[in-house]
Assembly symmetry: C2
Homo-oligomer: 346 residues x 2
């Protein structure tokens, strides 16, 4: 058997690993050309000096005599905050024939990660990355505490294949008024594991990965970065806090510093190994009202966009991956560079 199907212990979802698939013929495609970016772009609404193109900031973190991180409302929101909550209309459900819909109430914010158009989390000052993740936490708490919001997702789209519409480095926060089935299912699987084994499934994964080491990419005081056993895509990476915390908002100041450090290091390894690949990352966490629960364990998942989700993946909900996580982890471990040195590969 040259192909193996692995189960993700935390979700019970499966991935097919078939290294043979990597060898299949392709029609010659266009070679992706990387744009060279300037530090300032006159038409970019997120650049230093163009602040009037965005709404009033919700949060500004300064540094070096100017702003370092700025959070604004998304001008093209997927969901919108309620001006008034009168009459409880924020929870309005509509029945249309046999169907159900909900008003698109929520928040959609942009975390502008730097005043400079051509900055990159993988290469900026580590203290600056700490400001970015601090902004994540501050906005996560603020938005979560508004009672119209139920689920808050912090995510980043880097590069065209990852769905970015603007090059300027930014992340997003999106809050919706309910918990979708996908998340509920993940929560229910970890609850079931806890009921069966009396331990957090994520803590068990962390301990196993630390002791086996073959999928371990990096470890610092507070975190491990792992290529998951059932990685859904090539170079899939999960950063887990070692301390059991169900909700991202539980991370303290020191833990945010540790997160910034490992996030930058791992993104730097990806940058140098794969020539600045497009990727998404997502903070996967319990809701704030589930803080302190025993079965969930927040983590940050990075999904490079090196392959395309096609018909089988859409139809089955499974993924096909052509490279084993052990190989990815080994390649990422080998890459060494000096963080915060632009162009600084060791």
């Amino acid at each position: 058997m040259t192909s193996i199907i692995r189960q993700d212990l935390s979700t019970r979802d499966w991935t097919i690993f078939s290294e043979k698939r990597a060898a299949r013929p392709h029609d010659p495609g266009e070679k992706r050309k990387k744009k060279v970016l300037n530090s300032y772009e006159p038409g970019c609404p997120f650049c230093l000096g163009n602040e009037e193109s965005t709404p009033e900031p919700l949060l500004v973190i300064n540094g070096g005599g100017r702003w370092s991180v700025r959070v604004v409302k998304n001008k093209f929101p997927a969901v919108e905050s309620m001006g008034s909550l009168e009459g409880g209309s924020y929870k309005k459900r509509h029945i249309e024939g046999p169907y159900l819909s909900i008003d698109g109430v929520g928040e959609h914010e942009v975390i502008i990660e730097s005043p400079l158009h051509n900055d990159n989390i993988a290469k900026i000052d580590p203290d600056h990355v700490e400001k970015v993740v601090t902004a994540y936490k501050m906005r996560f708490i603020d938005v979560s505490n508004k009672f119209t919001n139920q689920l808050v997702i912090v995510f980043k789209n880097h590069g065209k294949r990852a769905g970015t519409s603007l090059d300027h480095p930014h992340s997003q926060l999106l809050a919706i008024p309910f918990v979708p089935g996908y998340i509920r299912n993940k929560m229910s699987e970890s609850q079931r594991y806890y009921d069966e084994f009396g331990t957090c499934v994520y803590c068990d994964i962390i301990n196993n990965e630390k002791s086996s080491g073959e999928r371990l990419i990096y470890e610092n005081e507070g975190y491990v970065a792992v290529a998951p056993y059932a990685s859904s895509v090539p170079y899939n990476i999960i950063i887990y806090p070692k301390r059991h915390m169900s909700c991202f908002a539980e991370a303290d100041k020191k833990e945010l510093k540790g997160l910034a450090g490992i996030l930058q290091l791992v993104l730097g390894k990806l940058y140098y190994l794969l020539d600045d690949p497009d990727y998404n990352f997502v903070i996967d966490t319990s809701t704030i009202d589930q803080s302190g629960n025993r079965h969930y364990h927040w983590h940050l998942e990075i999904m490079p966009r090196l392959s395309t989700r096609a018909g089988f993946e859409i139809g089955s909900g499974m993924n096909i991956n052509h490279i084993m996580p052990e190989t990815c982890a080994e390649n990422l471990r080998k890459i060494r560079f000096i963080p915060n040195k632009k162009g600084g590969k060791k």
Copy 2:
């Protein structure tokens, strides 16, 4: 509220509709250039005359003195058929620490839809499309009856953004030895609906769409094509058979002809409206051993690849769509063309 969140009645998954998102600024991207294809490509393993590049065919359907449709094993399979079933090793599960894996046993076949490199289901002879869907059914039954296979998915990837590696028109069939959670969940939702209301949720959707008409794209004797109420992507289309059938294999000869007709018509409308967009389609069906059940209802779902699944979609399992299905259905209804006339827009 300019944004609305709709629930898919059959899966209980949600989609956020926000037409504002369509207006957001984009960095200027490269305009996609369509390749002009020849009818024969010397290096293409699927072209007429190059049959020796593929393994022995599993099925050949002839027409006009040559083959029309040819099914071969995928030379770069995601999963592989078992040579021998001795010792029941086909069902081998492996325990690795806390994790579970299964041997990649299954089938991975390619349905070559035409001998000509530049053919397109949207434009070939309707009788030829009937041969393609007949090949789907024949291979679906044959593969399903092999007791190592549990789930069989027939799908098509059209164009680079849909994950095609070869331009020559082809579909695929992939069989795996178990049912993944995503499918089990869909089955369980339709079972629950049946238990609650005593009717098939898909039959209820079909009746509702026929009577309201606002999301109806096309209807023939046996089928309706609908823009789903909670469409996950722009121009999402589902073709439902009107007769209740849980499994695709239940479709008889006349029903396959009807499927070919509506599939070609709908793909033709997409072709002319959106200039040959990339798309995936998937036959979503119960397994063959669930044929005749009362709660599931097979259908064919088309997902054009006009937008990119980004961090929020990955993290939440929900989709954000910037065009309402009522608009898509109206635009598709308006497009009229003469099937089987190359370049034949009315």
